[in-house]
Symmetry: C2
Amino acid sequence: MFEQINANVTKCTTFSQEELNIFDALLVSKTYPKKTFLLQEGEVCNFEAYVVKGCARTFYIDDNGFEVILQFAIEDWWISDIASFNDQTPSRLFIETMEDCQLLLLAPQTKEDLLFRVPKFERVFRMMIQRNLSATQNRLIGNIAQPAQERYLAFLKKYPTISQRIPQHYIASYLGISPEFLSKIRAKIARK
Amino acid sequence: MFEQINANVTKCTTFSQEELNIFDALLVSKTYPKKTFLLQEGEVCNFEAYVVKGCARTFYIDDNGFEVILQFAIEDWWISDIASFNDQTPSRLFIETMEDCQLLLLAPQTKEDLLFRVPKFERVFRMMIQRNLSATQNRLIGNIAQPAQERYLAFLKKYPTISQRIPQHYIASYLGISPEFLSKIRAKIARK
DNA sequence: AAAATCCATTGAACTAGATTAAGAAATGAT
DNA sequence: ATCATTTCTTAATCTAGTTCAATGGATTTT
């Protein structure tokens, strides 16, 4: 069960089998059915979760009830509210499974423990958050500078498998457009 | 000259005078005139800069020459291209002073050095990047969910001093709207 | 102090995308 | 199988924001 996550963290730095064993022993495996909330607004996020199998989304609901999707996570992605997790403050986000999921969970104290025992993991988590920041910046730029159709095509290119697995209106929400307009874009693309 | 930055990093964790001395000794102070490029697309970012005095901006130019401002930095902010700095890869961003600036610079190797000698600084930099991620996420959400006028008012509230100091079209670029439209929003607000 | 450049405003014409409403297709539940 | 719910599409109308162009005010530059 751990080969997958071990291979993944080894992409950042090399670890000895010893170190990976410590890591694996600290992870907790859990499964959740489709449409389960892993986190709701107001709760403190007590996990960083590695997706072994399945698919989830992080989203935000604004004052008017309008939903914005911040992240999709499929196999080999991490999902969490990093700010809430690290500072142990109430979250403004929701995290919900979109398929049955198997996750490997790391609790705050356990993470501390890991970093203390295998400091090299600092690097893994720093890279994670850095990549997240870069991706979010790129998305912000795209949202400002590109029209919806280009953003959609870029999404398909970047996440070819995700777009097969999830309802289309989630993609619209991620792109920051209405589901109706996404439908029109698709019709227009198909016509060619 | 260092009281300012020392007070600032002390907000995250407490440091002994000893530790702060090590930190200060590794910083390089430089001044730059207005409209100087600290970083240009294609270059590898070799600094994380703390703004002692002055004002700078980070921006991106897309394929059509369209400019998007990612960050403003005034006194007590850090400015850098974190991804380029950490991975020593070419940057896609520009960083330019908007006023005469005094900066305290940290080079990649020097930062390594600092983290090795005073590991507690890991926390300072982790908090920095985390705050950056949260801010970028909030901006993305705002850009998707809020109309331009609300974003502008939120900007004024969040950065009351910045809006006094910089040309208005930069604010428009930050908000993701045309300068003309910002002008109209302002006229509408003033009319009330 | 004049010239040159940059900056902000205004208005008219236009467009990308939202909203509303309705029906069709797909998926799930009993 | 069928009923219900969710999802996708299409079309009409509407609006927030863009683009273009013209003007006057500020700043720099010489």
